[in-house]
Symmetry: C4
Subunit: 282 residues, 4 copies
Amino acid sequence: MAEREGERRAGPLLTRYGRWRRRLQYEFFGGVSATSKAVDVTVIIAILASVVVVMLESIPQLQRNYGGLLLGLEWGFTAIFTIEYVLRLMCAKRPGPYARSFYGVIDLLAILPTYLSALLPGAQALLVIRLMRMLRVFRVLKLVQYYDAGDILYEAMRASWRKIMVFMIAVLALVTILGSLIYLIEGAENGYDSIPRSIYWAIVTLTTVGYGDISPSTAAGQALAAVVMIIGYAIIAVPTGIVSSEFALMRRNYTAGKVCGRCYQADHPKNALYCHNCGDML
Amino acid sequence: MAEREGERRAGPLLTRYGRWRRRLQYEFFGGVSATSKAVDVTVIIAILASVVVVMLESIPQLQRNYGGLLLGLEWGFTAIFTIEYVLRLMCAKRPGPYARSFYGVIDLLAILPTYLSALLPGAQALLVIRLMRMLRVFRVLKLVQYYDAGDILYEAMRASWRKIMVFMIAVLALVTILGSLIYLIEGAENGYDSIPRSIYWAIVTLTTVGYGDISPSTAAGQALAAVVMIIGYAIIAVPTGIVSSEFALMRRNYTAGKVCGRCYQADHPKNALYCHNCGDML
Amino acid sequence: MAEREGERRAGPLLTRYGRWRRRLQYEFFGGVSATSKAVDVTVIIAILASVVVVMLESIPQLQRNYGGLLLGLEWGFTAIFTIEYVLRLMCAKRPGPYARSFYGVIDLLAILPTYLSALLPGAQALLVIRLMRMLRVFRVLKLVQYYDAGDILYEAMRASWRKIMVFMIAVLALVTILGSLIYLIEGAENGYDSIPRSIYWAIVTLTTVGYGDISPSTAAGQALAAVVMIIGYAIIAVPTGIVSSEFALMRRNYTAGKVCGRCYQADHPKNALYCHNCGDML
Amino acid sequence: MAEREGERRAGPLLTRYGRWRRRLQYEFFGGVSATSKAVDVTVIIAILASVVVVMLESIPQLQRNYGGLLLGLEWGFTAIFTIEYVLRLMCAKRPGPYARSFYGVIDLLAILPTYLSALLPGAQALLVIRLMRMLRVFRVLKLVQYYDAGDILYEAMRASWRKIMVFMIAVLALVTILGSLIYLIEGAENGYDSIPRSIYWAIVTLTTVGYGDISPSTAAGQALAAVVMIIGYAIIAVPTGIVSSEFALMRRNYTAGKVCGRCYQADHPKNALYCHNCGDML
C-alpha cells in the first residue's frame, strides 16, 4: 500500500520502474505464471550445467585437453548467476531479508568463489571453493515446492525427525560398543588398529554396506560380525516403520476428516456432502 | 456389428475366414479360455528358452563346443516368433494400432535382430541385437494382467511415482555433494581421481552396496563414509514409507469400497448407510 | 469312539497299552501339558546339539583331534531320534498319515543318513547325507505353532505370496536385461566373461550385497552400476510395502470387527459388549 | 511419611541434611526441573567425553605422544563419576535397591575399572576394563525417557519383540542350511573350509552386507549365492512390516484413544458415543 502511495507521488519513470519491479518480483519469487516457471527451469538447467562443468574439470585428461573451454564456461555461468542475483536483490520487496535468507546466502556463495579464485589461485583452495558451488544443486529442490509430493515428503521427514534422532543415538551407542568389542577380539594385527577404526567397521557392517576393506579373520570376530549383521538387518525396520506410519497418518489426514454435526460420525471423505451414518447434511 | 454385417453379405469362405479370425483374435488377445491361456504359456516358455539360448551362447566354452546347435535353436525360435507375429497381425481387429502398440513393437524387435544378423555379421553388433531380444522377457509380465497382484503392484508404483522421483532428485543432489566432499578429503592418490568417480563411490556407499573397489583410507574419509552410510541406512525408509502407505490406501479402497447405486460415488466406509454424495440410501 | 470299544473288549493288558498309547499320543502330538512341552523342548535341544556336532565335524582340526568323540555323539543322537521316531509311529492315531506327513518324512530323513553312511562310506557322500540332517533345524519351527506371533508371520507370508512372486519375476527380468547390458559395456576383459556371470553381478548389485569380486572399471559401466544400485535401493520398498500392508490389514482384522446389529456400526473391538454408536447390546 | 516423622523428631542439623537430601534426590532421580535436567546433561557430556578419551587412547600415535594427558583425563573423569555415584547412593530413598538396579550396577562398573587398573596393570586387561566403561554410553539413553519419541520406539520394540524373535529363528535355520549347501558346492578349496565359516558367508550374503572376503567362484556357487541374495532382499520386508504395523497401531491408540470414565476401558474409536465395555455414555 505504502509502496503504491510512493509511486503515485513519484514521476512516470519511477512508476514504470515500480511496475517493472513488481513484475520481476512476481516472476522471481514463487510466481505461478508460465513465465516465472520458465525462469525457474532456466536457472535450474544453468545450475546443473555449471555443476557438470565443475565435474568435468575434475577429470584429469579433460582438464588437460579442454581446460580453457571449461574455465570459460565456468566464468560464463558465474556471470549469468551474478546478473540473476543482482536482479533478485533489486526486485525483492525488502532486499535485506532476502540477502539474509537461506537461498539468498546460497545465491551469493554460488557466485563468490569464482571471483575469489581470481584473486587467490591454488588448486586445493579452488576445489574447496568449487565444492561450495555444488550447494547450488540444493536450489533444484526449490522446484519441489511446486509439487504436493515434495510437501508430503518434507512433512513426513519433519514429523518423524525426533524419533529418527533417538534411533540414531541408540545406533551410535551400539556401534561404539560393538566396535570396541571387535577391537578387543581381533586386535591391531587384523587391521582393527584403533577403536575409532573398529567403530568405522561396525558402521560399515551394521548398515550392511560391507566394503570388505576390514573384515574379521578370527572365528570369534566372524561370530561377532554375524551378530552385528543380523542386528543391522533387523533394526533397519525401525526408521522404516517410523516413516511409514507418518505417511499413513498424513494420508489419512488428507483423505478423511469431516465429522457429522448430528451423530458425531467421523472420517467422512473430503468430498462428502451428507453424513453416511444418519444421512444428515454435513 | 458392422463386421458381422460384412460377413453375412460375404460368401461362406470369407465367413469361415472371419469366424476363424475372430477365434484367433479371442485366443491371442486377452482371452480367458483354457486354449488362450495355453497359447500364452507356450509363448512365454518359448521366450524364456530363447533367452536361455542367448545366455548359453555367451559362455565361451559352450560357444566353442555347441555353437552350431545353439545357432540352430536361435533360428528356430526366431521362426516360431515370426509365425506368431504374422498371425497376431492377421487376426488383430485393426492391425495398425497393434503394430504401433508397445507389445507390437517389442514383438517386431524380438524377431528382426536375427534376420539383420544374417545380413551384417559381427560379434559385437550381434550381441547388441541379441540384447534387444532380451526385452522379450518383459512379455512374461503380460501374464501379470491375469493376476490381481500385478494390478495392485502397478497401481502402487503409478500412485507413488511422483514422490519417488522427488526423493530420487534429493538423493542425486546428496550424492553429488557427498561425492565432491570425499574427492576433496581423499584425493586422487586414494583412488578418488575425479568427482564423477567420487559420486559413483557415494552412490555405492549410500545404497549400502559397498563394493570396496574404492574405499576411504584416511581417518577423515572414513568418518565421512560413516556419515554417508548412516544417512543411506536412515533414508531408505522414505521410499519404503511412500510405497507402504500407497499399498495400505489401495488395500482400504479394495476392502471397504461401497458404491452408491444412484450417483456411483465410490469408497464409502463399510458402515456407511447413506451415500455421502447424494444422500441416497445405499 | 471305535477305539474305546476295542479296548473294552480287549483284556486289561491291551487296555493298559491303549491308555499308555493315548497318553504318549497326547504328549507327542500338539499336547499343551507341561510334559509334552518338555518333550518338545528336549527334542529341539537334541536337534540343535546334533546339528552343532555336524558343524564341528566339518572343522578340519577338530575332525583330526576329536573325530572319534564326534562320531560317537553323532551315533548317539541318531539312536535317540530313532527311538523317538518309533514311539511316534507306535502312538500315532493312524501311523500311515503321520509317516507320509511333512514332519514324518523329515523325522525319517533325519535318522536314515547315519545308517546309510555305515553301509557306504565316503567323505563327500557323508557330507551330503549330513546336510540332509540339517533339515531337522526346521523342526525347531514346530515350536512356533505355540506362538500367536508365528501364526501372524505365516499368515502374512501366505497372503502376500502371490504379489511377492510377481515382484520377483519383474526383478528377474530386470537383472537379465541389466546383466546383458553390463556384459556389452564391460566385456570379458573386465571379468564379465558371460551373460550368466553378468546377471550374477546384476543380482549382487541390485540386492545391494556388493561383494566386489566383479565390479565395473569403465566409466560407462560404473554409470550403469550406479543406475542399478539406485533402482535396487528404490524397489526394495515394494516387497516391504506389500508385507507391511498385509500386517496392517491382519492387525485390523484381529483388533476390530464386531458390527452392531441395530445401527450397523462396524469396527468394535473384540471385547466390546455394547455398540459405541447407539449403546445397544451387541 | 515415616521419613518426615523421623526428621521432625531429629535435630535441626539432621533436618537440614534431610531437606538437602530430598533436594538431591529430586535432582538426581527423574526430576523435571531445569537444575535436574542440567545435571543429567552434564553427566552425559562427561560420559561422552570420557568415552572419547578411551577411544583416543586406543590410537597408537596419540597414545605415544599424549599418553600422560589422556591417562590424567581418564582419572579425572573417574573421580567425577565416583563422586556422582556416592552422591546418588547417599540421596537415594533406599540405597540398596538403587545399588542393585540396572543403572546402579552400571554406575559402579563405570568407575571400578580405573581403580582395578591401578592394582593390576596390563594392556589387554586394561582394554577389557575400558571396554566395560563403554557401557556408560547406554546411560545417554536415559535422556530418551524425557521424549515421547523414545517411549514410542521402546513400546514398538517391546510389542514386536516376539515376532522378531520367531523371524530370527527362521533366518538362523535358513542360513544354517544355505551355509551347508554352499559348503558342499564350493568346498574348502574356494575358502569355504568349514560349515561355520560357510554359515558366516550365508549371513554376510543374506543380510546384503557382502564383504567379498569369501565369495563363490564356481557357477553353481554363484547361482546359490544369487538365490540367497534374492531371499535376503525379499524377507527384509518381514521385520519391517512387523514394526511398521506396530507403529501404525500405536499411532492410532495415541490419536484415537477415548477412555471410559466409569470402567476406564480404553481405545474407543474417535466416533464412540458409549463405552463398549459398560455401555456408559462417554
